[in-house]
């Protein structure tokens, strides 16, 4: 079955043929790289895989092939993490990508599916309102009323299609899905079959089927996975950026993008302030100061890179509209306080301790210390 017919069956055929989509799928954007990898790949491939596990890892991490084709890195992070993720897909177990917001979980999941199955569109987006039908199957009610239950009246979910075709299915934000709906996946993952009791039939997964779920277990308002479901997954934690420089780079780049769309001026002078926000976030998150010599308590919030980006964006907006346009300690201090103090009692103590024991002593942070004192008072 070609990709196009799969899409048509899913009802996702593009309305306007010929127009350039805003964001093409990974397998389309990097079609050339995938083809080059497939040509160069002489290692054994698991059944129905487009590439060998080694080639999939290379696709994600980048490299240069024997014929000189350069594979761009899609994910910048530890090789071991990617290798574990790819190998998991070749085993019986499904892959659960964990991490705080902004660690490229979805991005990795999309590229893995594109490289393994050549199709990243078999996707269930998890929300608080995701119904069971989104994971199992639904019905075309006109057909159902006209002809009664039949395979024609059945609307398969992406998971069901992936099982039937031996492809990789994706579930985004698994922990946002209500617990009872999550557990629908247990049969799929352990028995590799999806019964259709209305028809007395079942859909059995063929070789090559596997599932990638992404979840974020440090946010609030999540539904913890049941241990029965958890056992069906191998967990890979995507780490936060390893070096401060990498994180500063990510934050400033994103801030610039967001700032442009909000009509905020670019603020190159603010790089010091961005570095400071990133340092504060990293220290509180890691529970140790940047020089590795002093431990600090960690607050209950996630303090993800995504939050650092929003703190800096807010500060920039404050500076633009109420200040002189230069990002100053006072502009970010309130934002940091808001991001750190999620639990009014415990986190406030954590924050004050941090301000008094770390910020106060640091050279060149006097302005920031004053600003923190002001907003915490």
């Amino acid at each position: 079955m070609s990709e196009n017919t799969v899409r048509a069956a899913g009802g996702e055929a593009r309305e306007t043929v010929g127009a350039e989509p805003l964001r093409p799928h990974a397998e389309e954007t990097f079609a050339a790289e995938l083809a080059a990898l497939a040509a160069a790949d002489d290692r054994p491939r698991p059944e129905r895989w487009r590439l060998s596990p080694w080639a999939v890892a290379t696709y994600l991490l980048g490299g240069t092939l024997a014929d000189g084709t350069v594979i761009t890195p899609k994910y910048v992070g530890p090789r071991r993490t990617v290798e574990v993720a790819v190998t998991t897909l070749a085993t019986d177990r499904a892959l659960l990508l964990l991490g705080v917001p902004g660690t490229a979980k979805t991005w990795v999941s999309e590229h893995l599916a594109a490289a393994v199955s050549g199709d990243s569109t078999l996707l269930v987006q998890g929300t608080a309102g995701t119904p069971e039908e989104a994971i199992r199957y639904g019905w075309n009610y006109a057909q159902l009323l006209a002809n009664g239950p039949s395979r024609e009246a059945l609307v398969p979910s992406p998971v069901m299609r992936a099982m039937a075709q031996g492809m990789t299915a994706r579930v985004e934000e698994l922990t946002r899905i209500p617990a009872d709906v999550q557990d629908t996946l247990i049969t799929v993952l352990s028995e590799k079959t999806l019964p259709i009791p209305e028809l007395g039939q079942e859909v059995q997964a063929v070789r090559g089927f596997n599932l990638i779920a992404t979840a974020n277990d440090r946010d609030r308002g999540v539904n913890e996975l049941s241990s029965a479901l958890r056992r069906r997954f191998n967990t890979v934690v995507l780490p936060l950026p390893q070096t401060p420089d990498a994180e500063v780079d990510i934050v400033s780049r994103r801030v610039e993008q967001i700032g442009r769309s909000l009509g905020l001026p670019a603020a190159p002078e603010g790089l010091d302030e961005i570095r400071r926000v990133v340092t504060v976030f990293r220290e509180l998150r890691g529970g140790v100061t940047a020089d590795g010599r002093t431990k600090v308590k960690s607050p209950s919030g996630t303090l993800s890179t995504a939050e650092a980006i929003s703190v800096v964006t807010n500060g920039l907006a404050l500076a633009t509209h109420f200040g002189d346009g230069v990002l100053r300690p006072g502009d970010v201090a309130a934002g940091i306080l808001g991001a750190v103090v999620r639990d009014p009692a415990a986190d406030r103590v954590v924050w004050q301790e941090y301000v008094e024991t770390v910020v106060r002593e640091r050279d060149g942070w006097k302005d920031f210390y004053r600003a923190c004192r002001e907003v915490s008072a």
Partner: protein, 840 residues
């Protein structure tokens, strides 16, 4: 082998695959003697290795006879090829010879290390990356790492991994037809390397190898050609080189020499894993031990062990987890192109399958399995450890004789010998050798005097032998033990005790480490109570360090940090406490107050001197006052604590004009809950530290209490009675009587005077009678002068000198009735900002 040439078995030290291969090779060629790379002085000790009560990991320890601090170790684990060869030889009654350079030379060669005695050990013990090169991978020198070069040639970036893939894992099958084939191949590779690199920058190697060749020749003369040599693969080409005896002798001529003693000491896996100090730099001794011990399917067995460990720690790990973990590990090995799943693959698999994304199980497995807890044993017949000698030596210098009968000694720490004795006893106590127990000194409370009860029980010798694992001298062993204890301690208070011990025992090198452990514990501790408990001991240490002239900067920094954390956490921690909790918190308030007072003094002086802190109100005591003010003023906190905070502020003179009246008025106003108000009074005036005197002399405060008490409704009175009783019952009898009389008499005739705060000290202090009764105040001055150690000339009581003590006492008796009168004068002096106020 043809039997005319010795069998050269080049190995990687501590390589389990090498160990297996060595055993197979020895079985195959059954040599007449086994020569092992190691100090020849150990030949006599070799038979001990065959004893059933000898259990690896152990180490050969060589030390300079008169200076146990200079020592070197050759650690041997169960999976070390040298150990395997040694055991094989002993089992088959084959003679064993150690052929490396004698320890007498290598110790003399190593530069004498100060105190810690670490250097030589690292120097002589087999190094980590240069595993085929025992000897001297000194950290500074530019040495060739032979394995690294081979690995690079094979396209590996990690030398260890290359060796595992090519040598260890391959020979782990043990089914090779010729057990000597891998050694031949390795020798060839090494020969090629040494052609390029010579001795690779290991400048001692030619000498060591010359000695090995000489020993090899001697062994061939003695046992014939059928001998086997087990040594680092790096040395194999050198042993086959044709050289003349004279040339080798020439190399060995004129080497420095010391008297060296050797013995076996027990070792641990943890020490093997240490890459510095006495360690052998093996990152994963537990894993190697497993590879060596597992008869087959090492990955499956490893996962099963990991699952068992996790289950014991209450993680839900099923056999299905084990199956999946093995599969994932093997899959990973395939993806990474390795012949067999190694440690990296198994740990990755465990993290993904059993860890649920958490690091805790992996950390547990790393600690307990990958490194492991294995502790070696050595038979009692092994020669004495150097620590014993060091103790004996120190004892002789300090003229302390071990006696079985208990006796007490008084030490005057101002004397050099006594200070040395005290340090020795403290250090031994730290090492778990309680020769002396400190007893409370009779009569004297000075810090320069210590009383010890000495008693040498025979079992203490055993304890000394056990403590030998920590180091070769009392100093280095106690330092290592103190650091290890501090890192292992869970409670904050334990670590502060360690810090104090370090000072008493004179272990300056341990102190920074202990302080770091302390700072870490304090940073993560969320219980203000525990922090407050830890602070006094620490501040004592700071003071003690000051007295002894030790550099207290680090201590002070940590103590200040601890105080800061208390400041931040205290106000929230005071909320929502019951009566018991509030009482405990009150003690913490008092303890912190005292500690801050001690800690704050020099800092203030320094801060004003340097002026580098520009943030206003930055002094430690200022911030503490701020915290107290917060507690005193915050509604909803227990009355006991608010009252206590108010009192502490008052004592420090931090409450401005009318401040205390305002606070008390608020706490005792009609709207306040009677029980809370009674608690406030207890906190403010309770206890034996002069609260009663305060009420006696500040009539406005007494009037407030009096007014409140008469307002308490009848129904509530019985509730507050126990609290009030607790407050007032602690007062001295005289104070109680005076208070009673004052209340009966009613407010003083003049009533509270108008508030005034001019520089003229004739203006009455609010709440006190007008004018200062200089005659009565002067009564205490002679005593005060004595206490403060000032000459009477320094007194500025504003009155002529020569005040008659006795006359003033009599006058005091007239008015106050008893001793309270004298004390009252002290109180008055304090409030009037006379210099005597500093006496508090």
């Amino acid at each position: 082998m043809n039997g005319t040439e010795p069998v050269l078995l080049g190995v990687r030290h501590h390589g389990p695959g090498s160990a297996r291969a060595v055993r197979a090779a020895l079985e195959q060629c059954a040599p007449a003697a086994v020569l092992i790379e190691g100090p020849p002085e150990a030949d006599a000790l070799a038979p001990l290795a065959g004893r059933p009560d000898m259990r690896p990991p152990v180490a050969l320890l060589a030390h300079v006879r008169d200076d146990p601090g200079r020592a070197a170790f050759w650690p041997l684990a169960e999976f070390s090829p040298e150990w395997v060869a040694l055991r094989w030889a002993l089992e088959h009654d084959v003679p064993v010879r150690f052929i490396d350079l004698p320890a007498a030379h290598s110790l003399a060669w190593a530069e004498p290390e100060p105190a810690t005695g670490r250097g030589p050990a690292a120097d002589v013990a087999p190094g980590p990356a240069a595993d085929a090169v025992p000897g001297s991978p000194s950290p500074s020198g530019l040495h060739v790492d032979p394995i690294g070069v081979l690995a690079e040639a094979a396209g590996y970036d990690d030398a260890e991994r290359w060796w595992e893939d090519v040598v260890e894992h391959r020979s782990a099958d043990g089914t090779a037809a010729d057990a000597l084939a891998p050694f031949a191949a390795l020798a060839e590779a090494m020969a090629a390397l040494r052609e390029t690199y010579g001795d690779g920058g290991h400048d001692r190697d030619p000498v060591r190898e010359a000695h090995m060749r000489l020993r090899l020749r001697a062994a061939r003369r003695e046992f014939g050609d059928g001998v086997a040599v087990v040594c680092g693969a790096w040395h194999v080409p050198a042993l086959t080189r044709r050289t003349t005896v004279t040339a080798d002798r020439q190399l060995l001529k004129g080497l420095p020499k010391v008297k060296a003693d050797l013995t076996w000491v027990p070792w641990t896996h943890r020490r093997l894993s240490r890459s510095s100090g006495y360690g052998a730099g093996i990152a994963s001794p537990g894993w190697y031990g497993h590879l060596f011990g597992a008869p087959d399917r090492p990955v499956e067995r490893w996962m099963t062990r990991a699952a068992g460990l996790l289950r014991a720690e209450d993680y839900a790990v099923s056999p299905a987890h084990v199956i999946e973990a093995v599969r994932l590990a093997e899959g990973l090995a395939t993806v990474r192109g390795r012949p067999l799943a190694g440690l990296a693959e198994t740990m990755d698999a465990i993290r993904a399958v059993m860890g649920d994304g958490s690091d805790a199980p992996s950390a547990l497995i790393h600690d307990r399995l990958v490194v492991g807890d294995a502790l070696g044993e050595v038979p009692d017949e092994a020669p004495a450890v150097p620590l014993q000698r060091d103790i004996a030596r120190t004892r002789r210098t300090l003229r302390l004789t071990p006696e079985a009968s208990a006796r007490e000694v008084e030490l005057d720490l101002r004397k050099e010998t006594d200070a040395g004795r005290s340090r020795l006893l403290h250090r031994l106590r730290l090492l778990g050798v309680p020769w002396g127990e400190p007893v409370h000194a009779r009569g004297s409370t000075g810090t320069f005097r210590e009383t010890w009860r000495l008693c040498w029980e025979p079992e203490l010798s055993v304890r000394v032998a056990e403590a030998g694992i920590w180091g070769t001298t009392v100093l280095s062993a106690a330092t290592a033990k103190a650091v290890a204890d501090a890192n292992a301690a869970t409670a904050l208070a334990d670590v502060t005790v360690r810090a104090e011990n370090c000072l008493l025992a004179g272990l300056p090198d341990a102190l920074p480490e202990v302080m770091r452990a302390l700072a870490d514990r304090a940073a993560l501790d969320t219980d203000v109570g525990r922090l407050a408990q830890a602070l006094p001991a620490l501040v004592r240490s700071v003071r003690y360090g000051d007295v002894r002239g030790t550099d207290g900067a680090a201590l002070r920094e940590v103590a200040t940090g601890l105080a800061e954390r208390i400041f931040v956490g205290l106000p929230p921690a005071c909320a929502g406490l019951d009566a018991d909790g509030a009482a405990a918190m009150r003690r913490h308030l008092d303890a912190t107050q005292q500690a801050v007072a001690l800690l704050g003094q020099p800092e203030n002086a320094a801060a004003t001197g340097r002026g580098d802190r520009t943030v206003p109100g930055d002094g430690l005591r200022d911030r503490w006052a701020q915290v107290l003010r917060t507690v005193a003023e915050r509604d909803g906190l227990p009355g006991l604590l608010r009252g206590r905070a108010a009192r502490l502020l008052l004592d420090d003179g931090r409450l401005g004009e009318g401040g205390v009246e305002r606070l008390m008025g608020l706490a005792l106003s009609p709207g306040a809950e009677p029980a809370e108000a009674a608690g406030w009074i207890e906190g403010f005036a309770g206890g034996g530290d002069g609260g009663g005197i305060l009420l006696v002399h500040d009539e406005r405060l007494l009037a407030l209490v009096d007014g409140w008490l008469t307002r308490v409704p009848a129904a509530a009175f019985t509730d507050v009675l126990p609290l009030l009783r607790r407050t007032f019952a602690d007062y001295d009898e005289g104070v109680r009587r005076t208070l009673g009389e004052l209340v009966r008499r009613g407010p003083a005739a003049g009533g509270p005077g108008p508030a005034g705060s001019g520089p003229d000290d004739e203006v009455p202090i609010p709440g006190f009678g007008p004018g200062l009764d200089r005659d009565r105040a002067a009564a205490v001055l002679p005593t005060l002068h004595l206490l403060l150690g000032m000459g009477r000339e320094g007194c500025d009581c504003g009155r002529g000198h020569g005040c008659d003590h006795r006359r003033d006492r009599v006058q005091g008796r007239d008015r106050g009735g008893d001793e309270a009168g004298g004390a009252a004068a002290v109180g008055a002096g304090q409030r009037s900002n006379e210099p005597v106020g500093a006496g508090r």
